[in-house]
């Protein structure tokens, strides 16, 4: 087995975001780290939309990201710390629109290690130095400078190590132009490692340490070290230094130390200021719990600055410092607004706040005000004795606030994010969708969602009108060449033509000059201000003064086909003759003296648009019934001569010449493509050589079951091709690369570009008798998402095989369920205390719920109708039970009627895992599956993490034991048990009498059930420990699984062993076999292994395209969706693996990670080719492309074709 990995949806989580002027222009951009990808996003301040400019796979794990600017520079550089053991400085090059690596310095081993730097990055605000730090001990300082040619230089590293110290955070201090200084939060463990009494541990001090880089001596000294709050977790830079123009200080310098419940201002030789972090005044919550700041951003404005700090609940606090020169007078904090909990916050100068959410959609807000004049209470350090530091060990009295709906911020844009995908199913449930849809349970806590994903471009419908007749074709046309908007819509019916005029409304046009008594074949705005209509009996050239020049078709002959552009018209007669017209300089349409007979019925014609500044386009494509497409010259020297010919497998229903930019073929100018749609639904795309008219590089794909109709359109000012079959496809350029994506929209019979004041970049289409006007806004996103909100974190779901509903379990740790919250309120009412009720009425979706102590759960079972996209019913679990597993089980003892079994546990603690009791709840489906009726609850001794229907019974993995249950009247009845699993059972799969059991730490075990003796026997396991997250059987002996470290692997059992086990009737033989390596008597062998870099949460085996081979679809926690495609031939394997080898040597990783090492992070990569790397071939420079293609004995076109073919065969686009 050999697999080809393709990522369909790259991770959508944002782990870091930094803002800066990366392109060097005035505009600010964001560099986003998506875990294993880097992206540059730009904000359009007019529309307030964020759009991705470029994205690049780094083949490594990004751990930190920072931006800096050299003194006096206007361009920001980005530094990235990763698991490559290298520090990389890169910039964005707007010319080539790519990230360019400037420096890459190796300092240590690769991998996320304890003492290898990369975890924290801190830059000097003046851009003179950067500190890169590990979790423990290691801190390296690099000096940044520029050389004589104003290029950025980097020094060799200076060490600022401190042995035996755990580092919590580092930050660059703002010291103006004094020596660059960094602050670190460190804890020394030397003493607590020695002290057996534990006293040293409880007295361990967290030190705030300043490291000064002495630029004169070129070394780093520890300048100052003072203990701070032992629960400090984050440092924030405070502005300092003198302004260049005046002697005024920008700020007091120093740091804000964010601790649990407090914020402390610290600086060397300066008094401390401390304020409490206000917390929500919930009537009940876990009062033991402190509140920490998890994200922070500082913003400098003219002469002022402020901080926005975000707590772990999502509340933003505005922190300000009152200072006189360098002396701090007061530290103030007040509640600002509530946004999703962020992994990074970025404030842009144009007045926007970007919130890169740790889970769920990312948000972009606009500042409405800065909270200066509201009634929110401000807490100042001057309110407390000695600025809150009277006794640093005693917490300040708690400050409270009530969160409010957004007052200071307004949401302007959302970036959709699947992160985290917790469970997923790929099924074809929606009517007439063609390809399977992905149903993903996403999100965390009260912001969770259930999303239906469809691959394709989303079309937004503007208008639809029923015409009461069925048009065959539709066109739009302007009146003059330089008109911005269309004036007429022309609809052709079988016996006539309807002309509508477009203005503020769409009305019947009178006096348009068009012939309405006959059908229309083509419509064109021709010359400067003429209109042209081709109908079966002639051509009408309508002049602006409504005079009509008419060309009559020869007697007994009819026009069957036509193609037009601004200056040329070609018509085909039913006799198989071509007639060619060209506009002369006076604007007269002249017929070329000869007609040319093609010797076959002409089915389709196409000419390209006239190139800028030219008289004509030299080539005409003609599709004939004899299954050929001919390229015919329109050049005056050899007019109507056949230049080249392409044989086809079916008659061409449509041809279309379009010039579209595709950087993989030619990055300088658009390539001329001849698209040929066949009657069998196949589309061929060939490249027309502009010099000699030859057709090369033919690629084909299957579009649908109907004959293909091709229409050249304009999409956001660029040429594109619409292909209509049983689905509608769009072929367009996005970020310089060509894409061919299905539209998620009604099937269309005919379509055209449409441009009007209200719909400037639209399309018009006809589906049966309905006229539809629509537009496509998001060209970048190939996934259309429909969202159903959920209340708690989804865990797992199952599909009912008959009624198509989904049954989803949700459970949230540290959350009060509705009934528990009510009980708490009852208790409070009983005590008679007054409390704020309104806070509980705030929408939970935005604000979350009060945090409960560990061991309190909120959980429910939700029935979802995926077709309607709504929740049908929610069944809440009581008694602090939380659901962990779900299965639809047909019990043989109940005539194979499906029952829903939900595995729950009461009072569950996670670490170490414990519960007062586990339960298997058995439900009967009522009301056709719209409701559930609890039959009974069966007590079990541990958390049932995996359950499955097995041969008319229930197989349950409860802790270390696997059991089979049968249904009884009062309970499920335990029939057989095997307690010999190493840690905890997390997944179950079955085929026949075989059960595949995934263990939490010890990989997959093969077990068999032998009914005669009623035995469950483990007969095979794995040689490697694997922390299984999900498994799927590929066949009876083969299993694919994902583990917690981001690997996918395939294990196979020897078929001989398999037969031997199946032939043993009672399993006595297996029972007495000797175990190997303290495990089962047989071992599976590893077939394939691949590191994805995202934790795999689900695996499916299915075919993504109708009629295509089956592939493995996987989803990752951070929002990755990918496929593993099996190769069919040995040649393909050799070819693609060799290509991969060559691509590896190109060193494309922006973080400097070795590709082979990354894909073999934990176990060497085996039998999997990384398609994401191979597809980067199309982005290489042309000469590198040809070198690699030469090594492979192919042309560049052949390599690209092979790559595209692999993609299209696997996922359809």
């Amino acid at each position: 087995m050999h697999l080809y990995n393709l990522t369909v949806q790259t991770p959508t989580a944002i782990t870091h975001a930094v803002v800066g002027n990366f392109s060097g222009a005035r505009q600010q951009e964001l560099v986003l780290s998506r875990g294993t990808r880097l992206e540059l996003a730009r904000l359009d301040p007019q529309t307030g939309k964020l759009s991705t400019v470029i994205a690049s796979d780094v083949f490594g794990s990004i751990r930190s990201l920072a931006a800096f600017r050299l003194t006096g520079g206007s361009k920001d550089y980005a530094i990235v710390g990763s698991d490559s053991g290298r520090i990389v400085i890169f910039e964005y090059d707007p010319q080539t629109s790519s990230f360019v690596k400037i420096h890459q310095e190796t300092y240590g081993k690769s991998g996320s290690r304890r003492i290898v730097s990369g975890q924290y990055l801190a830059t000097d605000p003046k851009g003179r130095a950067v500190m890169i730090s590990a979790m423990e001990k290691t801190k390296l300082v690099y000096i940044l400078n520029r050389d004589a040619a104003a290029r950025l230089t980097i020094s060799s590293p200076l060490e600022a190590h401190k042995a035996n110290a755990i580092i919590h955070h580092v930050v660059g201090l703002d010291v103006g132009f004094e020596n660059p200084t960094f602050a670190a939060l460190e804890v020394d463990y030397t003493e607590s490692d020695q002290d057996t009494t534990g006293e040293a541990f409880s007295n361990a001090q967290k030190m705030l340490t300043y490291y000064e880089l002495d630029l004169g001596l070129n070394h780093v000294v520890r300048k100052w070290s003072e203990p701070t709050d032992p629960r400090a977790n984050l440092l924030v830079q405070v502005p300092g230094g003198q302004a260049a123009s005046s002697d005024r200080y920008d700020g007091p310098s120093g740091v804000l130390v964010c601790c649990e419940d407090h914020i402390v201002y610290r600086n060397m030789d300066a008094p401390q200021h401390r304020v409490p972090i206000p917390r929500r005044n919930y009537p009940f919550q876990d009062d033991e719990r402190g509140l920490i700041i998890t994200a922070a951003v500082m913003h400098k404005m003219k002469g002022a600055f402020f901080f926005l700090l975000q707590s772990e609940e999502g509340d933003l606090y505005k922190v300000t410092i009152e200072h006189e020169e360098q002396e701090v007078k007061a530290l103030k904090i007040k509640y600002f607004d509530t946004v999703p909990v962020a992994s990074s916050l970025c404030i842009m100068k144009s007045g926007f706040l970007f919130v890169a959410a740790e889970f769920g959609n990312h948000h972009l807000y606009q500042f409405l005000k800065l909270g200066d004049e509201d009634e929110e209470r401000e807490h100042s350090s001057t309110d407390y004795p000695s600025f809150g530091m009277a006794d640093p060990n005693v917490p300040l009295p708690r400050a409270l606030f009530r969160p409010h709906v957004l007052e200071n911020l307004a949401l302007v844009d959302e970036l959709e994010s699947l992160n985290p995908i917790i469970d997923c199913k790929v099924l074809n449930l929606l009517p007439n969708a063609g390809t399977p849809q992905t149903f993903a349970a996403c999100g965390r806590g009260s912001r969770s969602t259930f999303r239906t994903l469809r691959y394709g471009l989303e079309a937004d419908e503007a208008i639809n009108v029923d015409l009461r007749g069925i048009p065959t074709s539709v066109w739009t046309t302007k009146l003059k060449e330089d008109d911005q908007f269309d004036a007429y819509i022309v609809l052709s019916f079988i016996y006539g033509t309807l002309v509508l005029s477009v203005g503020e409304t769409i009305t019947d046009a009178e006096d348009s000059g068009f012939l309405t008594t006959s059908p229309t074949i083509a419509v064109q705005q021709i010359g400067v201000d003429g209109l042209l209509q081709v109908h079966p009996h002639g051509i009408r050239h309508i002049l602006p003064d409504k005079r009509v020049n008419e060309w009559q078709a020869p007697p007994e002959k009819m026009i069957v086909n036509a193609t037009t552009n601004k200056r040329q018209v070609v018509v085909a007669l039913n006799s198989g003759e071509l007639v060619y017209f060209e506009l002369d300089l006076e604007g007269q349409l002249n017929e070329y003296q000869d007609r040319r007979a093609m010797g076959s019925t002409i089915l389709s014609l196409s000419v390209a648009e006239v190139p800028e500044g030219r008289q004509r386009t030299p080539y005409l494509a003609v599709g004939c019934e004899d299954q050929t497409v001919r390229i015919i010259s329109l050049d005056p020297e050899n007019t109507l001569e056949v230049i080249s010919l392409q044989a086809l497998t079916a008659p061409p229903s449509s041809v279309c010449i379009a010039e579209i930019l595709d950087a993989s073929l030619n990055r300088a100018q658009p390539t001329t493509f001849v698209n040929i749609g066949l009657q069998n639904g196949v589309l061929l795309r060939t490249v027309l050589d502009p010099l000699n008219g030859q057709l090369t590089d033919t690629r084909s794909r299957f579009l649908g079951t109907r004959p293909v109709k091709l229409i050249r359109v304009v999409l956001h000012g660029n040429p594109a091709v619409l292909a209509l079959s049983s689905r509608t496809w769009l072929n367009y350029t996005y970020q310089n690369m060509m894409h061919f994506i299905p539209l998620i929209y009604e099937n269309l019979e005919s379509a055209w570009t449409f441009s009007a004041e209200l719909v400037p970049n639209g399309f018009i289409g006809v589906s049966r008798s309905v006229l539809r006007i629509f537009h496509i806004t998001k060209l970048g996103s190939k996934l259309k998402q429909d969202v159903i909100p959920l209340d708690n974190t989804p865990r797992k779901f199952v599909a009912h095989p008959a009624n198509g509903y989904f049954y989803l379990i949700e459970s949230d740790h540290r959350a009060y369920s509705a009934s528990a919250a009510e009980q708490e309120l009852e208790r409070l009412r009983a005590t008679g205390k007054e409390f704020d009720k309104e806070i509980l009425d705030l929408p939970q979706r935005e604000f979350g719920r009060p945090k409960a102590p560990a061991g309190i759960w909120s959980s429910c079972i939700r029935i979802i109708d995926p077709v309607e996209g709504r929740t049908v019913r929610v069944v809440e679990l009581d008694n602090n039970e939380a659901a962990f597993s779900i299965a639809a089980v047909p019990f043989a003892a109940r005539d194979n009627v499906l029952h829903l079994v939900v595995g729950t546990a009461q009072d569950t603690f996670l670490s170490p895992r414990s519960c007062t009791s586990g339960f298997l709840r058995t439900y009967k489906f009522v009301e056709d599956g719209r409701g559930l009726e609890l039959l009974h609850k069966t007590e079990v001794d541990d958390v049932p993490l995996a359950i499955l229907g097995f041969q008319g019974r229930l197989a349950a993995g409860v802790g270390k034991s696997l059991r089979l249950y049968d249904i009884g009247k009062k309970k499920l009845l335990r029939k057989v048990e095997n307690k010999n699993f190493p840690s905890t059972i997390v997944t179950l799969n079955t085929q026949g009498s075989r059960l595949l059991v995934g263990d939490m730490q010890e990989s997959i075990h093969f077990a068999v059930y032998k009914p005669p003796e009623n035995r469950l026997i483990i007969f095979a396991d794995d040689t490697q420990p694997r922390w299984i997250t999900t498994t799927t059987m590929l066949d009876y002996n083969t299993v694919v699984a994902g583990d917690r470290f981001g690997n996918i692997f395939v294990n196979r059992l020897d078929p001989k062993v398999s037969d031997q086990i199946d032939d043993d009737p009672v399993g006595a033989g297996i029972m007495h076999e000797k175990g190997i390596l303290m495990g089962a008597p047989h071992k599976t062998s590893l077939l394939a292994h691949f590191h994805v870099g995202d934790i795999i949460t689900s695996l499916h085996k299915l075919s993504m395209v109708t009629g295509a081979r089956e592939v493995i679809v996987y989803t990752g926690l951070h929002g990755t969706i990918g496929v593993l495609v099996p190769f069919i031939s040995k040649e393909d394997v050799d070819f693609i693996s060799t290509l991969e080898q060559h691509m590896r040597t190109e060193q494309l990783s922006l973080v400097g990670r070795d590709h082979l090492a990354w894909r073999g992070y934990y176990v060497p990569v085996k039998a999997v080719v990384d398609g994401d790397l191979c597809e980067m071939f199309s982005r290489l420079l042309p000469h590198r492309q040809s070198v690699i293609a030469g090594e492979l004995d192919r042309t560049v076109g052949e390599v690209l074709k092979k790559l595209e073919q692999l993609r299209v065969m696997a996922i359809g686009f």
């Binding site: 909990v341 740790e358 974190t793 917690r1044 934790i1095």
Partner: protein, 98 residues
């Protein structure tokens, strides 16, 4: 403190090491925290393992997300608690018997 340890040459078991093996080993242990030695106690080994694991969890964003989802906590909180736990992941050291 910054002038020490500028040595970048890889250490091989060459003849010179035979005479300086002890000092070199000590040097290695000082340089590469977490490296084991013959007299390592179970407690020390376990503490190293835990610290390595905890820092690896903090260093892999998907793993912190995974734990945060399971526990109903913010990612920032998970990172913080993991880093805090690195101080003494396996409780106080056992009392010496002698």
């Amino acid at each position: 403190m910054s002038r020490k340890q500028r040595q970048t040459r890889p250490l091989t078991m060459s003849s010179e090491l035979r005479y300086t093996a002890n000092t070199q080993l000590e040097h290695l242990h000082a340089r590469y925290t977490g490296t084991g030695h013959a007299d390592l106690t179970k407690y020390e080994w376990l503490t190293h393992q835990h610290r390595d694991t905890l820092s690896s969890i903090v260093g892999h964003p998907p793993l912190t997300s995974y734990l945060a989802i399971a526990d109903g906590e913010a990612v920032g909180r998970v990172k913080f608690e993991m880093t805090e736990r690195m101080l003494q992941p396996c409780g106080p050291p056992p009392k010496k018997d002698d």
